[in-house]
Amino acid sequence: MSVVAMLFFIVVLLFALLAAAALLTWVERRLLAWWQDRYGPNRAGPFGILQAFADVIKILLKEDWIPPLADKPVFVIAPAIVAVTMLLGFAIVPLAPGLVIADLNVALLFFFAMTGLSVYSVTFAGWASNNNYSLLGSLRTAAQMISYEVFMLLSLVGVVILAGSFRLTDIVDAQRGMWFFVPQFVGLVVFFLAAIAETHRLPFDLPEAEHELVAGYHTEYSGMKFGLFFLGEYLGMMLSSAMIVTLFFGGWLGPPFLPPIVWFLLKTAFFVCLYLLLRAALPRPRYDQLMGYAWKFLLPVALLNIVVTGAIVVATRSPAEVGS
């Protein structure tokens, strides 16, 4: 691909992602309303779809405010970090054969680097705001995110063993015979739970638990800076759904009556909706339950999964392949 074509692809992808994130706010409100037996936003445009754009305009026009006691440069840069790292995560997601910005041989590690960097955003935001709620919220978020990051990577070691590669296109190709959610069902469950905690969506949204912490780490944020946090959260949802599809549900693979990219988008949309359904369906656990669950349950399960997967793979492959 030439540099100009690459640039065009990148710009198209970025705008598609921003539009999708804006639209997702509307989809979420409509779906939640439907599940809760109410209407949701239905006035602006057909089915209220223009509500998404109205919200973008509103958020741009809101007062851009920085608390006087805040650490100003850090305060400003924090929301940009989460939005940019989440956008960067999409650089390695293969949408269809050949349709990927960078087909890295360490794509999975790149994905973890980006989710790891987004922790900084939360920590910076809470520290720079100079507000009690913000600091408490950001401490909680940081502890939650770094805990679940461990299991997130652990849960994928099984997939890497089966595919023998970190390259996402190789991982998808390795699923031609059987999608990895069958042999790696435990890995899928751990990864999905960790992904919810990483994006701090309900039911694991304790960082923003509004009944105790007002709004957590973004209490002092307004206008577009708040908008960027919001954007980062929705992009994170889409990114982890796309990763679940790529790693466990065969990426673009599917019966040939639809083109590969449609299969990929359909599967991703399904998991995004599952995220929203969880928000409608489940209550929030206490913080000690959340952390105890992570270290005392998910960690042993993920380790056991790795050992069992490794043993089975070594035992079933032919002796010529093993130990040669």
Binding site: V3, M6, L7, I10, L14, L18, L60, L61, K62, E63, D64, W65, P68, V76, A80, A83, V84, L88, A91, I101, A102, L104, L109, N130, N131, N132, S134, L135, L139, A142, A143, I146, E149, V150, L153, L154, V157, V160, F166, T219, E220, G223, M224, K225, Y287, D288, M291, G292, W295, L303, I306, V307, G310, A311, V314, R317, E321, V322, G323, S324
Partner: protein
């Protein structure tokens, strides 16, 4: 090899530019009037009781240390997983020993109550 990362570099520049533009638009359009009440920290309508940069619970620090331990351990898992075909049975055995040592430490820290949040 490095050419693989050129798209990433372009992507970083474009995405960072996008972030700056969004912040800039918000800054230009979002002008408002300042007054004394608006300028105080949000504290549910109270005066702020104390400075925020205070001591906080040591357990957060403990979680961070545990994270570093287990993340380093993951650094061993990653090359092992991708080359399991090459290392075969010996690899499984070596990882078993490593895991056994790790689990001993994990049980110790569990018994010591490092995982409790009460």
């Amino acid at each position: 090899m490095l050419a693989n990362y050129l798209p990433i570099l372009i992507f970083v520049i474009v995405a960072a530019g996008l972030g700056v533009v969004l912040l800039g638009i918000g800054f230009v359009l979002g002008r408002g009037q300042k007054d004394q009440e608006k300028l105080s920290a949000y504290e549910c309508g109270f005066e702020a009781f104390e400075d925020t940069r205070n001591r906080f619970d040591v357990r957060y620090y403990l979680v961070a240390i545990l994270f570093i331990l287990f993340d380093l351990e993951l650094a061993f898992f990653v090359p092992w997983a991708v080359s399991l075909d090459a290392v075969g049975l010996f690899g499984i055995g070596a990882m078993g020993v490593f895991l056994a040592l790790l689990v001993v430490g994990f049980i110790y820290e569990w018994k010591k109550g490092a995982l409790e949040w009460d």
